[in-house]
Amino acid sequence: MHLTHAIFRLGILPMIVLCGLTLQAQAPDKFRQLEEILPTPTAYRTASGAPGNAYYQNRADYAMDLQLDDEKQILRGEETITYHNSSPDALTYLWLQLDQNIFEKKSDRALTQTGRLEDRMSLDQFQDLFMEYDGGFKLEWVKDTKGKDLKYTVVKTMMRVDLPQPLLSGGNFSFKVKWWYNINDRDKVGGRSGYEVFKEEGNYLYTMAQFFPRMCVYNDVTGWQHKQFLGAGEFTLPFGNYKVNLTVPDDHIVGATGVLVNADKILSPAQRSRLEQARKSDRPVMIVTPEEAKKAEQGKPKGNKTWTFQADNVRDFAFASSRKFIWDAMNQRVGNHDVLCMSFYPKEGNPLWEQYSTRVVAHTIKTYSKFTVDYSYPVAISVHSKDIGMEYPMICFNGGRPEPDGTYSDRTKYGMISVIIHEVGHNFFPMIINSDERQWTWMDEGLNTFVQYLAEQEWDRNYPSRRGPAYKIVDYMKGDKATMSPIMTNSESIRQFGNNAYGKPATALNILRETVLGRELFDYAFKEYCRRWAFKHPNPADLFRTMEDASGVDLDWFWRGWFYGANRVDISIDKVRWFQPSSMDPEKEKAIAKEKMLNQRDSHIGVPRNNTEIPQTVVEADPGMNDFYNRYDPFAVTPADKTVYEMFKASLSPEAAKELDKGWNFYELTLSDLGGLPMPVILEFTFTDGSKQVERIPAEIWRYGDSTVTKIFKFEKQVLSIALDPFLETADVDFANNHWPAKVEPTRFQLYQDRNERGDNPMRQNQNNR
């Protein structure tokens, strides 16, 4: 870094031209418009980012009868699917997803999993290598509604059903599938759905999803979206109505997507009256108390019960079932309707779950509704499963379990609240604003993580959010950019899923909101995106285009840098030069010039030495050695100087004369974009009187492709120091080059050592205080 700290006395004020920019070497065009990358707008999807006049989406309605076998941990089901073809195309076959097939031994996931022999590990892990789990769907048949077999072909995690005749545009087709499968033990096999067994008491807790053959999406972007499921890219599903009869042991409590329509047959009068009470309560009310759940845990079922759920306009169905469940509920009003917020949890979740879960559910749908669209489903449910977080429409499965003795760390507490906000938040992305998860994980995870951050900050002041603020992504982004993949990478190919699909897009949106657009413009545009695409299937371009279209701000450089590129933000202050304009007043200027000359002359090391060592010079000793030049003062103001000054003053307008009197300071800053991801330049000037002023310069300062720019700032006050990105809002990865004068920042190691030497290690203090 080169610093120049010098005073240049400029000649004539009107000649100072404030040209902010100077052009330097040409670099890649980071401000090139995105049209050549984005898909061509169509009548289905417009150039403004909205659904077009020909937009369509197909629908799938399901009627299902399910039996949960708690003895053998098997789920059996029979479904009738009615598929509505709203596309302009005739379909000769239908594609369904068989997600359970990922647990087949010869699944692509298993075959393509790369593995290594590692160091010595635990016996459990060794045993896992020999674990036999007979997973995957066992399909019994696929028939039409008259009972005639339909030809079907299983292609790994997908199934094609051939239609007897083409399904024309506007038509529908009903067919039936019968299947069963062995439910996976989530502790051993993993999985988004599965069971947890409580060995001491012999009870099971089922959190069930992806348990039935589900229709794929057919649309204008992918045709049939039947990209194989490899485990990472989640689910792309059409909307439809579900009616589900769920037969479980009669001592089980069930929570599911949708509304329980036969509560009068299933619930006791006491439970029904508590449920009614909960519908009017703004605090959780117990429907099944911990005492009742404890009693059920110790009992045995006498038979089965069939719970019937109805869910409209949803893209999936999931449920949870166990005799261990405690169940509480409360009401949350959103817009003009009531939402019943509920939690189902075993006693192992307490005391955390009864205190927080349902309240967090209510907070989440309220806050998300404010930033996106009103939550329009009748219920929102959080179910406690051991250590997972997974979302389905109206219901999600969340971890966050206290220690067996009921104590818990703050990490467990905030982890639990965060995961509930996150998973309930998924009701908005992708359950309602239904992006293609198989293709673009970031479209639901990134957007959801962003709103999760907003909701966390409204839950508790200074909530310890893991993602959101710009500076939290720096550790990840400051790494070698050659090995980073852009956000716009397919779900199944993303390395560093957590950073790339969750953290980085969430941070990018937060930066867009706080720094690039400002909260008002951003919130309007983001809400418009949600409104346009609620209950529809948006694509990345629809988001990019809507955010620009509604905000009126060209954001192509931002999408290009943050979503299509792998560069990082690193802006540096290279050089600062200080100028003051000349007043032209000979009385002032000549005095300054004289002082400068004398200063320079008298500063020399020889002067004080000579003053003491040379008692008398020749001229001092002999006045006869003086002439005109010994008396001449080149800095004396002459009548000619005065005349010139009078003429200059007469040429100035009164405004210019006033400005000149103020004694401006000009600072020429040289800035470099070292990271390659252009961002706004935020500068905080601290003046010699201690006051501060912030200048915010839009990212367009980099629009000519320069890696280095210079810009002039003028102040009446004199600048003491300058800080770049003082509010940590741009994710600048290197702060060492963000200060003038340069600041040497101690390393973390040094800080730790210093603190320890002073004996005020915060951790130790904390321990002593407890």
Binding site: I102, R109, Q113, G115, R116, L117, E118, D119, R120, M121, S122, L123, Q125, F126, L129, R186, V189, G190, G191, R192, G231, I388, G389, M390, T407, S409, R411, S418, V419, H422, E423, E445, P464, R466, D475, Y476, K478, G479, D480, T483, R495, Q496, F497, G498, N499, A501, Y502, T747, R748, F749, Q750, Y752, Q753, N756, N761, P762, M763, N766, Q767, R770
Partner: protein, 169 residues
């Protein structure tokens, strides 16, 4: 062919469970190394997500540590972390493996910063750095290294398939 030795220790396939976690964690460990030629030593700061560190140590047979939990933190926490890091972080000059000393640790939100030092061999011209922290836990674990010396800054990424790098002095 590698022969399994159950009595020696259990070899395992690093085959993590299906990614079933929709609130996907960061599988990143940050290691900062400052080379101080004047003192002939390395100052090392390692940032590991606390839950990952705790779960990994537990899987290796450690008790519940409650890292950063004040009075409920297990008294052996520091020595177990030190032991783990000595096995997972390797500094080599020529054929000599440099000893690592855990100076201390501190908890910052959901991460634990561990501080270590190591004395350098004066004559060696380069240093091999290996960081295999949490590789046994996550297949996509990424360990980022920032190496700073009077000659400047360098950054490296270590993944399971290439867990070590070489820096020249």
């Amino acid at each position: 062919m590698v022969r399994f030795g159950l009595l020696i220790g259990f070899w395992m396939l690093a085959w993590p469970l299906q990614a079933g976690d929709s609130m996907h964690d960061f599988h990143v460990c940050i290691m900062e190394i400052d080379h101080r030629p004047s003192e002939n030593k390395l100052e090392i700061s390692v940032k590991i997500f606390t839950d990952d560190l705790e779960n990994t140590l537990e899987a290796l047979g450690a008790p519940r540590l409650n890292i950063g939990g004040g009075k409920i933190e297990h008294p052996s926490t520091d020595s177990l972390i030190g032991l783990y890091l000595q096995h997972r972080i390797g500094l080599e000059q020529g054929t000599k493996r440099l000893p690592l000393t855990l100076v201390g640790k501190e908890v910052e939100l959901d991460a634990t910063w561990c501080y270590l030092t190591s004395d350098l061999n004066l004559d060696a011209k380069n240093l091999k750095i290996e960081n295999r922290v949490l590789f046994e836990r996550f297949e996509d674990q990424l360990n980022i290294l920032y190496f700073r010396s009077p000659n400047g800054k360098q950054s490296f990424r270590m993944v399971a398939s290439s867990p070590s790098i070489m820096v020249d002095f």
